[in-house]
Amino acid sequence: MWNWIQRFSSPKHFYGMSAMIIPWFAISALLIGVYGLYLGLFVAPTDYQQGESYRIIFVHVPAAWMSLFIYMVMATSAAIGLIWQIRLADMVAAASAPIGASFAFLALVTGSLWGKPMWGAYWVWDARLTSELILLFLYFGYMALQSAIDDQRSADKASGLLAIVGVVNIPIIHYSVEWWNTLHQGATVAKLDKPSMHIDMLIPLLLMAVAFKLFYGAVVLVRTRNEALYRDRNRRWVRELIEKL
């Protein structure tokens, strides 16, 4: 069993396998994403409170979910790399970080754009946006530490540890910010909580969430392939690949 894992997780083997998987992820992400957007932007009913501007949630909410999901994946891969010394796991973690940061940034931008029609300002210190901003900082810290340490293995392990520390802190930060926000609540904040959402709004939202996950799957595989090529650039399998070209 252990041998099977070691063989399966060798970068060389991964490189070959991922080439076959990526098109599946990419195409299904595209199809589901387009359908979800269509439903969300054209078919879903107009919100009685916010009119048409609420439709940005079909990008904003899945992006926020993804930023958190990817952080979990990143921390888990880093933990696997740290504990069992599986290099592929380190590569996946390093590859995921910029994607997660981008989703966090997307969530912030879309949240800000949504804020203008909803609250009248481009930025308000609402609990979710603030948590998202802090998550973006956690991503930046991870990426900065990775690039600051020269030795690749130490860099992976150190940033992996940081990711794990971050994961422990995320619930604490989230709770603290929520709490802080309730103290400073304005008059009414219209929150689109899932239970009270109309089914015609929920479906496009979930479709977009699935599409984003598939998109992440495709992109992380591509980026991990690049990581594998770069990190193993002095190894035989990469040199053989280059010679074949």
């Binding site: 802090i134 530490l145 600051a148 150190a158 540890l161 520390v165 422990v168 910010v177 802080w180």
Partner: protein
Amino acid sequence: MLNAFYHLLIRDLRLALRNRHELANPLIFFVLVVSLFPLAVTPTAEALQSMAPGVIWVSALLAVLLSLDRLFKQDYDDGSLDQLMLSPNPLMILVFAKVIAHWLLTGLPLVIVAPLLGMFMSLPADAVSVLVYSLLLGTPVLSLIGAIGVSLTVAVNRGGVLLSLIVLPLYIPVLIFGANAVDVAADGLSVKGQLTFLAAMLALAASLAPLATAVALRITASR
């Protein structure tokens, strides 16, 4: 094991006290930064009081951040860190000793000076006592969490800004509850919840941070 812990703590304190002039730096920074705010605004009592909790807490945070470097840098540079890592005693315990020494030298002075700054910022007496309690509970957490950051960046050249980037997001819960405790105390409300949360954070940090720091040191200090 306890002997090694105790002796390391004494050693660090002794080293710092023989360089007494360096100790004052975070303290002076703290007082200086807080003093800047009244100069930057119209220093009416209401204006100062409303911003006091945040200003004092953020300045304390920054003062601790600036002083974190002393935790491992010298030991890393002169090779003592290697000897600590080669001790038969658990590295976690030795790290804990160093962090306690660090707090006694940098955090505790901030707590002691805080009432003075409360006065600068027109805080009422009740709020000042809560300020002291909140800093008393919060600054050790800052030292503990900061130790994780320092151990991750100890081998990075000029890792100061990187350290801030890593550590400040993790400081945010402490900041929120610490500043809020002082804020509501100024209005005469109960602060039990906030202080309890700070105590819980201290317990969590004290149990997990030394372990994380020890692991980080073994990763980064391998040269």
